[in-house]
């Protein structure tokens, strides 16, 4: 399975990619904002999962999800963000996110979440 990791923090992309490796996923792509994520998703039909940060420059994760869903792409998207309020979670889910992971998370938290989507 190919997974796209979207985060403006280089360090956070490394941490999430490391967690993916621990659940057996080594085929990963990176994007540093929502705009790049939308482009990569449209060009790579093999992507089976997207891990999406919310607050990023150029285009937020929420805007990126809306654009991806508007293009009729149903790739599973896990929002992976510090935005932990209930209203924010509902807003993301209504906009097309499939799941939600609030930072801070432990390595166990993210691995447990990933195992639900790894085939």
């Amino acid at each position: 399975m190919q997974v796209l990791v979207v985060d403006d923090s280089q360090i956070m992309r490394k941490i999430v990619t490391g967690a993916l490796n621990k659940v057996g996923i080594t085929d990963t792509l990176d994007a540093c904002d929502g705009k790049e994520a939308v482009q990569i998703v449209s060009q790579n039909p093999d992507i089976g999962l997207v891990l999406m940060d919310w607050n990023m420059p150029n285009m937020t994760g929420l805007e990126a999800i809306k654009k991806i869903r508007a293009s009729k792409n149903e790739v599973p998207i896990i929002m992976c963000t510090t935005e932990g309020e209930k209203e924010k979670v509902l807003e993301a889910l209504k906009s097309g996110a499939n799941d939600y992971l609030v930072k801070p998370f432990s390595p166990k938290d993210i691995q447990a979440k990933l195992e639900k989507y790894v085939k």
Binding site: I11, G18, E85, P104
Partner: protein, 168 residues
């Protein structure tokens, strides 16, 4: 700034360091922050602005050695110098600490700016709103660091936005 407003930030630091760095922190005495003119130590300082039903700023101030060790523990690497990854890591740490803290202010709707990270030895916090800054020192296995916070609930956010637009 009321003393009770500092607790969500203190708790957030403890939680973030525990869950993401597997590191316990010891909290020191909360004090009113006094700017210093000169300091020999080089610091890495992450800052985030808050707006909405409360406004203010939170900053985290790390001596270089602490910054390298904290980000190293965060990502599972060792850093010999303060490079772009260390700077990026401090930005992400302050982002997570501030994001986690704002969820603890029930009844508030607070937005965060994107983080800013600066490096240097002279460090003065000042803003135009005459807000008091509170400073909290922490110690941990990765070294000592501190947070400085100004936080003020906005009594009438709508009026505040109207006034802001008139002044432009």
């Amino acid at each position: 700034m009321k003393a009770e407003h500092i607790n969500p930030f203190i708790n957030s630091v403890s939680e973030v360091f525990k869950s993401m760095l597997n590191c316990d922190v010891k909290v020191g005495k909360v004090e009113i922050s006094e700017p210093k003119d000169c300091d020999e130590e080089q610091y890495i300082i992450g800052m985030i602005g808050m707006s909405g039903t409360a406004r203010g700023v939170i900053s985290m101030k790390f001596p270089e050695e602490t910054a390298k060790k904290a980000v190293g523990k965060f990502v599972g690497l060792e850093f010999e110098t303060v490079d772009s990854e260390v700077i990026d890591g401090i930005g992400e740490l302050i982002n997570i600490v501030a994001g986690n803290a704002k969820t603890k202010f029930q009844g508030h709707s607070i937005s965060l700016s994107l983080p800013t990270v600066v490096k240097g030895s002279v460090y003065k916090l000042k803003n135009l709103g005459k807000l008091v800054w509170l400073s909290v020192p922490f110690s941990s296995e990765v070294g000592s660091f501190s947070i400085e916070v100004s936080f003020k609930p906005v009594e009438d956010p709508v009026k505040e936005v109207e006034n802001a637009s008139v002044s432009r």
